[in-house]
Amino acid sequence: MQEVAVLGVGMHRFGKTGDAVVGTKSVTELCRHAINEALRDAGANWRDIQAVAAASSRFSGGKGWGLNGNDVVEDLGSTGIPVYNMSAGCAAGGNAFNVGYSLVAGGVYDMVLVVGGEVMPKGMIQTSGVEEATDPEFLRQRCVGMPGPSFWSTLARRRMHDFGTTEEQFSRITVKARACSVHNPNSRFQKAITIEDVLGSPYVSNPLRLFQICPVSNGAAAAIICSAEKARQFTTHPVTVASSAVATMTFDDMLPRGLADPVTREDNLHTEVRNAVRSAFDKASMGPQDVSFIELQDNTCYYELAFPEEWGFCEPGEAQRLMDDGETTPDGRLPINPSGGFVSFGEATTAMGVFQIAELTWQLRGQAGGRQVPNAKVGLAQTNGLGGNATAAILKK
């Protein structure tokens, strides 16, 4: 295994179809912008790229088959390089990063492009779209009607019951996230909001409100990764990858994902995420105490409380006190989502895992401006997606 460096990162600012930011740009245009930014940041040329690991979208581009990496290569110039199109729902960007990382770490290629971009359809994400009684997702929606926000809301409601978390506390997480987004030129929302704004937004699924849930967005992110040895030809202080891990859920999982699951002894939620984060810690020989900041998948602000507890950063029920005390802001003891997170960006599903790599890189270089985590040395990034997929990556300076 050779050490891997993140040489360059780039993004296209997130937005909503028709707005002044993304307008009617295609996913290929969004990706081209992100890739050109990443190449410039790396000081590299498109012809230096030896392979592409791309996140596969089922929503846009990719010739309808998730061949998003092939779109990118055709657009930037068909050099004949190998393309890996990775599908893992919302974890696809993280998955693509893991594949790119593994190919470089294993010595197969010296320089790889990792990319994810998305133009999302409006409204709540429809799942399979298949009307078949053999499809559990069809059955769940036809027989019950439980869209994504209602799924998250059952978790938020249970947390309120278990730990006394209040709607005000959920709201303060959004206020904190938006305060970070003010300093992030790539965020879709860049305005601070108040707790009254959040509590005044309508319930999407009681107890979660509109401003506590990430909307869908269009956007793209790219990262150029290479061997640490090669990176030294470009820079004296490369950001390196301490570990990258992918995992799936285990049989003891108790999250209400389908129609019904066997009840196990422990109330295990998000086992795929726990497995990925544990694996990333193991591979890096690190633990929560080594992490300067976290970028986690906050489809709803509930996850800023649940995930740090599930990963051993604090005791169950303790995360809301850390948040109340300001410890999860960029200046705190455990900064969470200094980028502004999904709640500020909206979710361009397949771009998210790569967007996190970009944020980690900027933070570790000290280039994050007003949202900078002081003295950031180690960053943890995490995504999870449909099918019980999860990824985690640890970057260090």
């Binding site: 709540m124 059955l139 036809r142 027989c143 209602s150 319930y203 019904a260 699951d261 009840v263």
Partner: protein, 140 residues
């Protein structure tokens, strides 16, 4: 004349003499319950899959709940005008954590409450009431 009731998806659940059940499976080797039916056991710790048909119903405890405040996208179907409904996650005594709509209004629903599985109308189509399984809180 009472309206005709048909399941919204055939073969998943039934109601006889007021007793509601969903049709699932159970592995007799490791005792793992499944709904909907499975052709084989998914437990990686199970050495030999021995799956038989098994009906689940009866009582359970409400683990959590949420509200569909807006109409879910297709393939969900509902009667107009849309009325928000409560969704329950229930740990059935039979060993399944199961999702379903709640009969009870939001104000009445409580985590930890005893509930029972019932069959109830989900929406109307072609002059028939299309049903699904739901949960109903029991009075303590």
């Amino acid at each position: 004349m009472s309206e005709q009731r048909v399941p919204c998806v055939a073969g998943l659940f039934s109601e006889t003499d007021g007793k509601a059940v969903v049709h699932g499976s159970r592995c007799t080797s490791c005792n793992t319950p499944y709904f909907p039916k499975t052709s084989h056991c998914h437990n990686p710790g199970c050495d030999e899959s021995n799956v038989e048909d098994y009906d689940f119903g009866g009582k359970g405890v409400l683990w959590s709940y949420s509200v569909a405040d807006f109409p879910p996208p297709p393939p969900h179907k509902y009667d107009e005008p849309f009325k928000p409904y409560v969704i329950g996650v229930v740990d059935l005594d039979a060993g399944l954590r199961m999702v379903g709509q709640m009969i009870d209004p939001l104000e009445a629903v409580q985590i930890g409450a005893q509930v029972e599985l019932v069959i109830d109308t989900l929406y109307h189509e072609d002059g028939k009431a299309h049903t699904s399984w739901k949960f109903k809180q029991l009075q303590n």
